[in-house]
């Protein structure tokens, strides 16, 4: 046997437990699939919404004479980030829910799993593919947001500065006010807000991935994922009301606490992501440590849901 044949034979004999290369191939294919399904077409109406917001004033905005002219920018960010959050979360659910059941229905999965592809590679590849598309979509929307917000900030500053000067404010105070307004423009804090929503959409995609491994229909996967998304959004409030000081279950003892821990493990607290995005809208200070913590929290949930998905999927029969 020649050396090249021996090498091929060796390669054939060994299939690694998990292969980043194979995961990347499946992720790339998922991105291509979603791109060719023309999912990015929705970006056109969203861009139109973002640009359209430019032309609407907040109902409470009283022009340059308003005591808080930055509220105008806050409204702009609120609407845009809200749209981005809604879109990225729904997109993560729908695309994940569509991809795996469709592969099973079309028997495409047979041909993939009959190649030397461990099931974990397939799951992680699909999840990363969806996350990549969500990331690209959020990046495009973020770019549009930054451009529109930049112009709007410029317009507010151009309104406020001469007005304050006309009122006879000392230049120092005017500059201070202008800095305050500029902090509500396209800053790094805003980018942290967008990143928080990307993390949130990734965790939601991982939830949908888990459900799609045992669900028998796309509709069930979508409905259940949306339900978990909502539970996750309200979890913090419910936990405070039920288990924390002054709550209904304050006297329930350790069982209530275990229950609370279980709920928080199974249903991620999406309020954590939302609070970072809210801080970004308010132009509050967000430290890089906070973002790192949020990233760690995201990885933790991605890990939990992926391992659970793998447990279910590894025994699944087709």
């Amino acid at each position: 046997m020649s050396s090249s044949n021996k090498k091929t034979q060796r390669q054939r004999n060994k299939t690694s437990f998990i292969s980043p290369r194979r995961i990347l191939i499946i992720a790339q294919s998922t991105v291509t699939q979603l791109v060719r399904m023309k999912v990015f077409y929705f970006l056109a109406p969203i861009a139109a919404v973002f640009v359209g917001i430019q032309f609407f004033d907040a109902p409470w905005y009283a022009g340059p004479e308003a005591s808080q002219p930055q509220q105008e920018l806050q409204m702009h960010k609120n609407l845009c980030l809200g749209t981005m959050m809604l879109f990225s979360s729904l997109f993560a659910i729908v695309s994940t829910a569509l991809l795996i059941p469709r592969d099973i229905e079309d028997r495409t999965l047979y041909t993939i799993l009959c190649k030397p592809v461990p099931r974990l590679d397939y799951l992680v590849g699909k999840l990363l593919g969806v996350m990549a598309v969500v990331f690209i979509a959020l990046a495009v929307m973020d770019m549009i947001l930054v451009i529109t917000l930049h112009f709007r900030t410029g317009a507010v500053l151009a309104d406020v500065e001469p007005y304050l000067q006309k009122l006879g404010w000392p230049q120092e105070l005017v500059d201070e006010k202008l800095d305050e307004i500029s902090a509500h423009g396209p800053t790094m804090t805003l980018q942290y807000g967008v990143l928080a929503y990307f993390f949130k959409a990734s965790v939601i995609a991982a939830v949908a991935l888990l459900i799609s491994t045992f669900s028998t229909s796309t509709l069930f996967t979508i409905a259940s994922s949306v339900m978990i998304w909502m539970i996750g959004a309200a979890q913090n409030i419910a936990r405070q009301g039920l288990f924390e000081q002054g709550g209904l279950a304050e006297d329930s003892g350790p069982i209530a606490k275990i229950l609370a821990t279980l709920v928080s493990l199974l249903f991620p607290d999406f309020q954590i992501f939302d609070s970072v995005a809210e801080a970004a809208t308010r132009a509050a200070n967000i430290s890089s440590d906070q973002i790192l913590q949020l990233g760690g929290f995201t990885l933790f949930y991605l890990g939990i849901y992926t391992v659970l998905s793998w447990f279910v999927f590894s025994d699944k029969e087709f």
């Binding site: 054939r12 299939t15 194979r22 041909t111 025994d315 087709f318």
Partner: protein, 296 residues
């Protein structure tokens, strides 16, 4: 040649839980198959007889309730076993957004191929299945026959030693079906092991060395095709230049008649189709009512 068979299915049993409380359905009942390297094995059986489940168990897509399956000595449930196997499912659907060349590239990459070797293999495979002209067309525009052929190309991309074909000609027109049959013969000539499952008995008869007939989950007949289709209670004598009058006295006269040569003697053959119909004919079940009537 090594003693390791290309395929070894031993006492395979597969039960499916149909409903939560109901009894289990036995799809495959103690099936054993051994396919030697280089052999073309055909498995035939009516719909729902357990053919596809056996194939899926061999590919690790379903877990056996009992028994084992191995490919070139490797347990089918292990991913490693799939390095040596290519599979074409019945009515395959691939990613319709990919072109023919992209499809083969995708599956080639999954098998660890890359670079010039993969590029060369894509060209080779498209040429083998006759889809050179359609390489840049998305699969959306492929006919059923073309999809079967691209399916065969993806199954062969990593140059496996075994190829499993589940109804490779299902829904394909006669010309497309003939092309696929020729491809199977080509694989056979290359020394590849083929495990084929088809309803087209004529085709199975044309290409297979050994055949197994499965019915109600059980292997009812299995063996060399020539042996299986031989009618053992009859003898066939093939004569050359024999007159009609001679036929009556043939047995006694053949040895002494001048100018008549005995070409061959053996069992005449039935067709695989007849054998299949005989073996899979539903057996009459005596109902309780009828049994009562008979007793009275």
């Amino acid at each position: 040649m090594s003693d390791i068979p290309a395929v070894e299915v031993s006492g395979l049993v597969k039960d499916f839980q149909i409903s939560l409380r109901g009894p289990k359905l036995r799809a495959v009942d103690n099936v054993s198959i051994r396919i030697e390297p280089g052999e073309v094995y055909g498995m035939i059986g009516p719909n729902g007889s357990g053919k596809s489940t056996t194939m899926k168990a061999l590919l690790g897509l379903v877990k056996p309730t009992a028994g084992t399956c191995s490919i070139f000595g490797k347990d089918s449930l292990k991913v490693d076993s799939r390095n040596d196997v290519g599979f074409l499912p019945e009515n395959p659907y691939f990613y319709k957004h990919l072109t023919g060349a992209e499809t083969i590239k995708f599956y080639g990459k999954l098998c660890g191929m890359r670079g010039a070797k993969l590029k060369h293999r894509i060209d080779e495979m498209l040429n083998l299945v006759g889809l050179d002209d359609a390489r840049n067309r998305t699969l959306k525009g492929y006919s059923k026959g073309m999809l079967q052929r691209i399916g065969l190309a993806q199954a062969l991309v990593q140059d496996p030693r075994l190829v499993i074909l589940d109804e490779p000609t299902a829904g394909v027109d006669p010309s497309g079906s003939r092309k696929i049959r020729d491809l199977i013969l080509e694989l056979k000539n290359r020394g590849m092991t083929v495990f084929l499952c088809s309803h087209l008995l004529e085709q199975v008869q044309e290409v297979c060395d050994r055949v197994g007939i499965i019915n109600h989950g059980k292997m009812v007949r299995q063996g060399k095709l020539d042996d299986l289709i031989a009618l053992e209670d009859r003898t066939e004598i093939v004569l050359e230049n024999a007159s009609p009058e001679l036929l009556d006295q043939i047995r006694t006269l053949v040895d002494i008649t001048y100018g008549v040569d005995m070409v061959s003697e053996g069992n005449p053959r039935t067709t695989l189709e007849n054998l299949f119909l005989k073996e899979t004919k539903p057996r009459r079940t005596v109902t309780k009512k009828r049994r009562k009537r008979t007793n009275s």
